[in-house]
Symmetry: C2
Subunit: 439 residues, 2 copies
Amino acid sequence: MNRVKGMRDFDTELINEKDRIISRAEEVFTSFNFKKIDTPALEYFDTLSKQGAGGDEIENQTYNFYDFSKRRLGLRYDLTVPLARYLSQNTNFSIPQKLQRTGKVWRYEDTKKGRYREFSQCDIDIVGSKDMRADAQVLFCAYCALKNIGLSGFTFHINNRKLIDGVLNYIGIKEEQKTGVMRTIDKIEKLSKTELYREFAKYNIKKIRADEILNCCRLEGSMYEVLKGIKKRFPVEDEATVREGFLELEKLAEYLTAYGINNACRINLSIVRGLDYYTGCVFETKIKNEEKLGSICSGGRYNKMLGSFIGKDVACTGISIGVDRLLDYFIEIKKEEKTKMNNKAIFVANADEEHLVSAMNLVALLRKKLKSGSFIVETDAMGRKLSNQIKYADREKIRYVLIVGKDIETLKKVTFRDLDKHSEKQINADLAGIKKLIQ
Amino acid sequence: MNRVKGMRDFDTELINEKDRIISRAEEVFTSFNFKKIDTPALEYFDTLSKQGAGGDEIENQTYNFYDFSKRRLGLRYDLTVPLARYLSQNTNFSIPQKLQRTGKVWRYEDTKKGRYREFSQCDIDIVGSKDMRADAQVLFCAYCALKNIGLSGFTFHINNRKLIDGVLNYIGIKEEQKTGVMRTIDKIEKLSKTELYREFAKYNIKKIRADEILNCCRLEGSMYEVLKGIKKRFPVEDEATVREGFLELEKLAEYLTAYGINNACRINLSIVRGLDYYTGCVFETKIKNEEKLGSICSGGRYNKMLGSFIGKDVACTGISIGVDRLLDYFIEIKKEEKTKMNNKAIFVANADEEHLVSAMNLVALLRKKLKSGSFIVETDAMGRKLSNQIKYADREKIRYVLIVGKDIETLKKVTFRDLDKHSEKQINADLAGIKKLIQ
């Protein structure tokens, strides 16, 4: 039997590293006062495909089906739409709501290296603030989380949908062409120039106009540098949407500087993000020299999406850490550490069947007396003879072995073997004697 | 929009308590040297419905569907069948494999209080040992995990499928009736006597024979007491299957006594568990005076299931903690604790817009210098005036507020307010001064 196509199993090394990444992120989220919530893996398909959320187009990317009562369900493809649904069922919330979620999401996409049909995200969102200090807080929190995970050399690439929208107005792109154009801009790094022209042509954008768009998107650099460039090239004073976007980016740059993370931030006009629900600043995160990995932390401001669920607009901004991409990165760079003996592990062996119960007694004693969680206390589950029990301890990198044999009866002694130092001696089978040797 | 029927959202209190339960269990599992793995939520339906795993009958209880490439998929209904599939793809494993998994599972079942269509399990399994010391280890580990979660007053109810099978032979139940009879025995506590007769009748079991079965199942009590009762009433010497089951239970009782948990264990002949894949000892766990909650930790030995995946039998035994049932129990008994101010939380307020950047600088300083994770450092995300910022801090139970205003410029001072003591003073805006007051 195979695992489902495009999904992966996690062996012990992989799941332990994944757990580490998630707990490091959550630790920082909590220290920023983001409160955790959780929602089911399944949502009604109407929720997932709602106009303003995923829209009709997500149908082909979503695992969806009818249940036995003919309800149409789908596996969530992100943690943002379920958040909106959650809040729509508890509309009395005070603002701001600062929320974090961690969980698996599913997308029926082309499978290639580094893309999985099941993957995990860690999200934070600030609900109810339209102020740029919320966006800055989200980015600062993501920065601290990525640092806490152990990442360095990463850069936030920031853009603003309003700015791009205004620029497209200025170039003369029609309203009905914009979604298509945005989606094409989102592919700039993935497609060749010819392919991009072909994409633009789908939306009736000629080559010369496409070049204009591509030129605009080329602006990229440190925040104040790009802000200067925008002022020079675009009608910041004349076009209201351009101005709004510009001012938002300018504020954001000021706040990110105040938080001292400006060196990790750039403005990049080619970043628009695929999803329709973004309305203001958008963010992606790239690791230096690992650009092919894609964005490991993405998000932005979505001031309209909640409105389509609860009837009135609520400003939101948030970011999502792509746990599986980070995981692949960390597993890849993890040095070939020679697995060492575990100093915090004891194997209690029974020299023969007659001393099995005494060995079990000792296991129970150690487990009661050694601080739980700080020690592995292991024993045979197979009924193996002594030499094979010790082989198992060795394979499991358990450093200390206590052998319970006939000396336990009269002398109350056991054999203590250190598999790292290859030493062995008789010791008293009491806690004091054992503790001295293993700590 | 609603959440999907039968599933639940987790607010912050609920998810934090759930995370606590899981991490307490995993901590103990790891200290018993169970290695964590993880598998996808989706499996091919053929895997889930395999003969010897779930079988055809799980079809109606499983969320299953065809994907866009006409592959039939299903959401896993437990963590045991995916374990078998996982091992079947890595058949070189050494034995024993001691594995733990935590995750959500889905069942399309009647929804009633305490039953969810999405719920979480924490599992441990020992793969490759047919010895009763493995079953004892699994139960001892579950015992320590439940204790570590904070549970007391729980009892393991233990039975053996071979014993019951032999007893049914002895009574004269035919092979083809047995599955039905086992499934009916599993409902003894849920159904009335009349309903039980009706169930038995479905398998052609007359009332008098049904009474015989029900009488056999009435044996329940401390382990050695019930073992004595079995010896008296059943043909332990003459019927091979009865004898095998009896000897297994006897060994298990010896080992559980050696581990010192015999007082938490009973033999109960009415425990058979629904699933077909159990072949030896089976376990359920009940909380005293909370019997209606059902079993909060269940499992048993399944020596055949892996064989249906990898072609040769591999003996396995394991147990699964029902996280959601435990969660409901703990949330219910949680005393109405008056929410106290959080002593490990600071809110940095800006007295006015001119001092926003200075406030952000201070946030960045505190975040860098206070040990990450040990403090919440919060600040305004809304652009609110000072009094409303403080109201928010109060609502969030953040005890300490630092107000950054004009004194920061010339005097390098901020106002320190303790929302618990309702005190306020001017202090130096440096780390030493702040640390002294909050620690």
